[in-house]
């Protein structure tokens, strides 16, 4: 019996393949893709403004609601934040990734790897909480700036419109810092992977031919690292688009897409609008992934 089954699987690799693929594809197809379609379907429903009940009839009205000024504001704010966070992550990640890829060897290499992996995998909420402690008015950052006699700088920054606020822990500056902090490892790893494929003698050749370090960076390193940066930006961008916990804990009362989704489905009970809101990051990420694929970013993942 066992032998016969084994022979059958050997002679019919297609059958074995099917057997192996069936459970994961069924699970992901039903649980995940099924749920996504359930969500998508809801976005074409609408809510009855008087009864608060969901009207299960096809309509585009809910999508129309997305274009109200308040909702457009939320979308614009989130996309801007995601773009800035992505840019900053790339800038901070590059030196770490470059050092790890080109100079770190042996034990140092392992240390760098762990140095990026540990923060990546350590608890998301704990990281946010740590920043709450740092950015709070009585926290370590204020203390440090006071010691350096730089409190005036902080006060000047906090008095600015949009980026400022009562303290860093209730401002967009705080939100931005925490986003960069939390997603940074997602940028470092693919950039490092891309840089490791750059042969060292390419950099040497460039400087032998008389290029300054800046020119070498612009014309050699950066173009070759770009697929890695794009790959990393998929994470930093997408994660910022959907996050609602960071702006809720460290941020102002002005909403991001994630928060809007959360409050629409929870307190407001408007599941159709919440669903329509989630379609925004899906569509944006759809285009983003399509563009990234064309740039060869998937090979750098």
């Amino acid at each position: 019996m066992r032998g016969a089954l084994s022979d059958l699987l050997w002679r019919r690799p297609q059958f074995l393949l099917l057997l192996m693929l069936l459970p994961p594809v069924l699970w992901l197809g039903i649980v995940y893709i099924g749920s996504l379609f359930a969500l998508l379907a809801q976005s074409f429903f609408s809510i009855d403004e008087y009864s608060g009940l969901i009207n299960r009839q096809f309509t585009l009205k809910t999508y129309g609601d997305l274009f109200q000024a308040a909702n457009l504001d939320i979308i614009l704010r989130t996309v801007t934040m995601a773009a800035l966070v992505t840019l900053a992550s790339a800038v901070v990640a590059f030196p770490i990734a470059y050092y790890a890829a080109r100079y770190a060897r042996g034990r140092w290499k392992a240390l760098f790897y762990l140095g990026v992996m540990l923060p990546l995998w350590s608890s998301y909420l704990v990281k946010i909480y740590a920043w709450k402690l740092i950015l709070a008015k009585e926290g370590i950052l204020t203390w440090l700036l006071a010691k350096l006699n730089l409190l005036w700088l902080l006060d000047a920054w906090l008095s600015l419109p949009v980026v400022g606020g009562n303290s860093l822990s209730v401002s967009f500056t705080g939100t931005f810092i925490v986003f960069v902090y939390v997603w940074l490892p997602f940028m470092i790893l693919p950039v490092q992977a891309a840089l490791e494929r750059v042969p060292g003698n390419l950099v040497e050749a460039s400087s032998d031919l008389g290029a300054s370090p800046g020119q070498t960076f612009r014309n050699v390193l950066f173009p070759l690292a770009l697929p890695g940066i794009v790959a990393g930006s998929i994470f930093t961008f997408s994660l910022t688009l959907g996050d609602y916990i960071i702006p809720q804990i460290i941020g102002t009362s002005r909403l991001f897409i994630g928060q809007a989704v959360y409050s629409q489905q929870g307190t407001a009970g408007n599941i159709p609008l919440a669903a329509a809101f989630t379609v925004v990051p899906i569509v944006i990420m759809g285009f983003y992934l399509w563009g990234a694929k064309r740039m060869g970013a998937f090979d750098a993942l």
Binding site: W143, E204, A275, P281
Partner: protein
């Protein structure tokens, strides 16, 4: 081989890389200090005094234990499911080329490539449409879905390195498919699976966004923490739990690293 023997990095690069790493690590270390502070009400720095009393207080909190127990059970079951599904998928994708192979790897990656809130609200609205009440299993359903990718990634990397000729040799020597799997394939991928399982466990233990949508009234550790961050009851207890969470997630990751370390060097993935 590279030609940059014994070259050392420019000072500016060294400093910025070091600052980057410090930026990544100092905030987490700070949590450890706060777990010992005597200050109860605010986040004041430097701590006015140090004490270990909060560990005892935390130990006696039943809500913390309940959350911990739920988190561990969910993570254990989700990891088990993810191990089975992820390994099957990895075996299929790495061994053969077939139509729709790209689609399948996309399908596996999608639950973490799309923002967590989408997975969360999608599951929630599916539960609502299908009239499924919130339970232990609704949490597991979500967690297992995004844990598959971690196992899959680890397993795929190992499968690609395991040479197919070993399997053919085993068959030539008269082993049937099951014996080959048991004595050749499994020992080869075991550490990769263990590493993937560890990471999946850590991922599930830490997940908050999807859980908020699928848990109903139940509290996992991250949900408990989120609640405390929004409506603090006893800050020092939160500090202690935060420190414990860091340690609980750290150990599996270090262990996973240890398990895949040698293999990755053989594969030359660093090059």
């Amino acid at each position: 081989m590279r030609s940059d023997r014994g070259q050392s990095a420019p000072l500016g690069l060294k400093i910025s890389a070091a600052c980057g790493l410090l930026f990544l690590h100092l905030p987490i270390l700070l949590i450890f200090v706060y777990a010992f502070t005597t200050e109860e009400k605010s986040f004041v720095w430097p701590p006015p005094g140090l004490t270990t009393q909060w560990f005892a207080v935390t130990w006696n909190r039943p809500d913390v234990w309940q959350a911990l127990s739920l988190s561990v059970r969910v993570a254990a079951i989700s990891t088990t499911i993810a191990l089975v599904l992820g390994t099957l998928c990895a075996a299929a994708v790495s061994r053969t080329k077939f139509f729709g192979r790209e689609t399948i790897s996309l399908l596996v990656i999608l639950p973490i490539a799309l923002p967590g809130i989408i997975t969360g609200i999608a599951l929630r609205s599916a539960f609502a449409l299908a009239d499924i009440p919130f339970s232990f299993w609704t949490i597991v359903l979500g967690h297992a879905t995004f844990c598959v990718v971690v196992v899959y990634n680890n397993a795929v990397a190992r499968f690609r390195r395991t040479s197919g000729s070993m399997i053919e040799a085993s068959m030539d020597l008269g082993a049937d498919g099951f014996q080959t799997f048991r004595h050749v394939v499994l020992p080869n991928i075991a550490t990769a699976l263990l590493a993937g399982g560890m990471l999946a466990f850590a991922l599930s233990f830490d997940e908050v966004i999807v859980t908020t949508f699928t848990a109903g009234q139940q509290q996992t550790v991250p949900i408990w923490m989120l609640e405390e961050l929004i409506r603090p009851r006893q800050r020092p207890v939160t500090n202690v739990v935060a420190m414990v969470v860091v340690l609980v997630t750290l150990l599996p990751i270090l262990f996973a690293y240890y398990l895949t370390r040698d293999g990755d060097q053989i594969a030359g993935s660093g090059k």
